[in-house]
């Protein structure tokens, strides 16, 4: 599974954020999603999607090696994490997110829920494993 985005298809609905926060944290809270949508209005009239593409730069900079690859997916070991925030600053996509009241940030672990539920396949599986909605 490889997450890719076609931002021109995004409608700003945030279904991705809802299904993500419920999957990751069992909470209805778009602020706790590892994918974010932002509108740019009134001009030019488009949406931007922030998501992790599992590039691994966070793992490279982590001073305590709390972030490791597991089959192409980078995961944080929350017990080892010291909350230094270097990964948050380093992430080129801005896809490492802090949680209020917690040291350890959180990130996408490629569960694919957003790819399955995005109504418009604005985020989709570039490997073709999840059906794409196009019209």
């Amino acid at each position: 599974m490889k997450i890719a985005a076609a931002e021109e298809r995004c409608s700003g609905c945030r279904v991705c954020q809802l299904v993500c926060s419920l999957t990751l944290f069992r909470e209805t809270n778009p602020g706790k999603a590892a994918i974010r949508v932002k509108g740019e209005f009134p001009e030019p009239g488009r949406y931007w999607i922030t998501f992790c593409d599992q590039c691994g730069k966070c793992a490279e900079v982590c001073p305590v090696e709390a972030i490791t690859a597991d089959g192409g997916v980078y995961r944080i070991d929350r017990d080892s994490c010291t909350g230094c925030g270097l990964c948050v600053d380093t992430c080129p996509k801005g896809a490492m997110f802090t949680l209020a009241g917690e040291d350890s940030p959180f990130k996408c672990e490629l569960c694919g829920a957003c790819l399955e539920y995005c109504p418009r396949s604005a985020v989709f599986d570039a490997d073709g494993g999840i059906p794409i909605r196009r019209w």
């Binding site: 609905c13 999957t23 209005f41 009239g45």
Partner: protein, 637 residues
């Protein structure tokens, strides 16, 4: 208590800048559910009878429902309510976007604003920090410009509602704007903001909405979304949104054209959904949690300039397009943008402008009074009038009052073609050939509005309620619509009542009804998800009882607030009772006063209302509205 609600009512008094937070009561939840239900009950309980709609004591109630902000299709709706400056009675308006979900993440199911700020102000709600701040730098800005300025100043995560210059000038049909293209358009909810010197409300919410069974709610939500995605035709409906019905409404002769002089616009294909998609679309744009979306964001170039705007959706195509005879989608989009920046409801705005043009054509308004010649189909005329209205300059001052008041002052028989009911201008469906839809408009609680009971399809199908009782035809109008047929009309009354409970039910839950109405998502999903959210059973039947309760409460509210309210407020304008449609597929049709009376008699009887159209004490008590029965009894005397 984890039950899908945020659990608090936020009260802000603009006169004192006082802020209070109050727990949401179990009783309010149990009896009124949320959204429109909260609005109706809070207005009844807390608005002092006889309040001046533009005075300090009027309230604006902004309410979410139990499903707002959750992982449920279309969970982005905000319901606004007030005593309407346009009608003097119950006013409400439902808005898409992202505002009410954010209210709930901040911890509030309801925000109530009362009083009047000393100067232009904005209300900022940042989770638990609530502040009335100086808003002078924003006063005078277009509604869209103001939202952009506040996003820049406060942060992009804030969800913001604004009013435009029209509200500041107390135009009676000023709207509330949000998310660069959504509005709470009707009944002057924006006007009341303006009367309170309130320019905007900005909310940021970082919290979680608690539900009883998050894992169960996740799975059920997934099933609801999949149910939408799997409907055949889902992919066919979504490209055009509501603009997609323009063709059909013309083909059945129900399209507002030239101030409802007729019901078929020859150039409708230039302003339909396909024209939007082909010529001006920039992006599809959706509300919170929406699987569709119906929203279309456009960029349009006209001789007056280029604009980007969300829309035009169907009502705007009807009232600024056909009703003003604009025959290019770019021009409809331009007029849409002007209304959106000025903060004018496109429905009432289009109705008032087309009324003014007809007055001019008939010599009831002169070129001198208006300041120039105006004409149907002329974008410049329309923009000119909208700008005059928003500033209350010249003729704009009269037109800003709405068609009912304007006609009363203009005279000359113009009241016959002041197309409104109860002082609210008519929305996008001509009904002289659709008696069920006509009844829907006549009895809608806020005035002439279509969305309570969209019965037009029922009329056109010649429907009498059962699938086996169809009227066959090859595309002609069913015979029953050519004659007044009491048997068929009785079924229409039943259908209107049924829809008046079913459709506003979604306004209780705080979600959009298009997933059910347009896509056919099974309504049983809502029953099934409620226990996972709240831990309690709430069946569709239970919800429909609440909907009926709210329907009667809003009627009782208008009866309390509008002197002499009753049957006489339920009739359509003279045009619809006296003039036959001159051309098009519905040519020759008119509704007679006899039919209108028959429909009202039958409707009141079935509703348990008296002959004057007021809920009886027995009906109110039966719905748990005994507290309103006393007022009803004293009114009846």
């Amino acid at each position: 208590m984890a039950n899908g609600y945020a659990g608090q009512i936020l009260r802000v008094n603009l006169s004192t800048k006082g802020v209070a937070k109050q727990p949401l009561s179990e009783e309010l939840i149990q009896e009124f559910v949320g959204g429109r239900g909260f609005v109706a009950k809070l207005l009844w309980d807390e608005l002092p009878p006889g309040t001046d709609p533009l005075g300090e004591d009027n309230m604006v109630v902004m309410a979410a429902g139990p499903l707002t902000g959750l992982f449920v299709p279309g969970s982005g709706k905000t319901h606004f309510g007030t005593k309407s400056p346009a009608t003097g009675g119950y006013g409400d308006s439902n808005m898409g976007g992202h505002f009410a979900p954010t209210m709930k993440y901040a911890g509030y199911d309801v925000i109530i604003v009362t009083g009047k700020a000393a100067g232009p102000s904005i209300l900022v709600v940042d989770d638990s920090r609530v502040e009335v701040r100086d808003g002078a730098e924003y006063w005078g800005m277009g509604a869209i410009d103001c939202e952009k300025a506040l996003k820049d100043d406060l942060g992009e995560e804030f969800q913001i509602i604004t009013v435009g210059p029209a509200a500041e000038k107390l135009v009676k049909y000023a709207c509330i704007s949000h998310d660069f293209g959504r509005q709470a358009g009707r009944t002057g909810v924006g006007t009341v903001f303006g009367s309170k010197n309130l320019k905007a409300v900005a909310v940021r919410g970082t919290g979680t909405i608690p539900v009883v069974d998050p894992a169960g709610a996740l799975e059920k939500g997934k099933a609801m979304y999949q149910s939408c995605y799997n409907k055949p035709g889902f992919q066919g409906w979504t490209p055009f949104g509501t603009a997609g019905i323009t063709d059909w409404v013309n083909e059945v002769g129900a399209f507002p054209t030239r101030n409802f002089q007729t019901s078929y616009f020859k150039k409708y294909k230039e302003i339909n959904g396909a024209a939007l998609r082909e010529k001006i679309l920039v992006t599809d744009k959706g509300c919170f949690g929406c699987p569709i979306p119906c929203g279309k964001y456009s960029r349009a170039r006209t001789k007056l300039g280029q604009v980007t705007v969300e829309g035009p959706e169907y009502e705007t195509i009807a009232l600024l397009g056909g009703n003003c005879s604009l025959d290019k989608i770019e021009e409809v989009a331009y007029a849409n943008y002007i209304c959106d920046q000025l903060g004018i409801d496109t429905i009432s705005g289009g109705a008032v402008v087309s009324f003014a043009v007809e007055c001019f054509e008939k010599g009831l308004l002169s070129e001198t009074q208006i300041g120039r010649k105006i004409a149907f189909g002329d974008l410049e005329s329309i923009v000119y009038l909208l700008e005059k209205i928003a500033t209350r300059e010249g003729i704009g001052d009269l037109l800003a009052e709405g068609v009912r008041t304007a006609a009363a002052r203009i005279g000359g028989g113009s009241d016959k073609f002041a197309i409104h009911i109860k002082g609210l201008e008519w929305s996008g469906y001509e009904c002289r050939n659709a008696p069920g839809m006509m009844l829907s408009y006549m009895t809608a609680d806020v005035g002439a509005h279509h969305n309570r009971a969209w019965a037009l399809g029922f009329d056109i199908s010649g429907g009498s309620g059962s699938v086996t009782d169809l009227i066959q035809g090859k595309g002609e109008r069913p015979a029953s619509l050519s004659v007044f047929d009491p048997a068929a009309y009785a079924a229409k009354v039943d259908k209107v009542i049924e829809l008046q409970h079913m459709r506003p039910m979604f306004d209780l839950l705080g979600v959009c009804r298009l997933q059910w109405v347009e896509i056919g998502m099974e309504v049983s999903h809502y029953e099934e998800i409620m226990p996972l959210i709240s831990g309690k059973q709430m069946s569709l039947a239970d919800l429909l009882v609440v909907s009926e309760r709210v329907w009667n409460l809003t009627r009782a509210f208008s009866a309390r607030e509008i002197p002499g309210f009753g049957r006489s407020f339920d009739y359509p304008p003279g045009r619809f009772l006296e003039e036959r449609i001159p051309d098009g597929p519905s040519a020759g049709r008119v509704m007679s006063k006899e039919e209108a009376d028959w429909l009202l008699d039958e409707y009141y009887r079935k509703r348990g209302w008296d002959e004057n159209g007021l809920p009886t004490a027995a009906t109110l008590e039966g719905l748990g509205l005994g507290f309103a029965a006393e007022t009803a009894a004293s009114r009846a005397k």
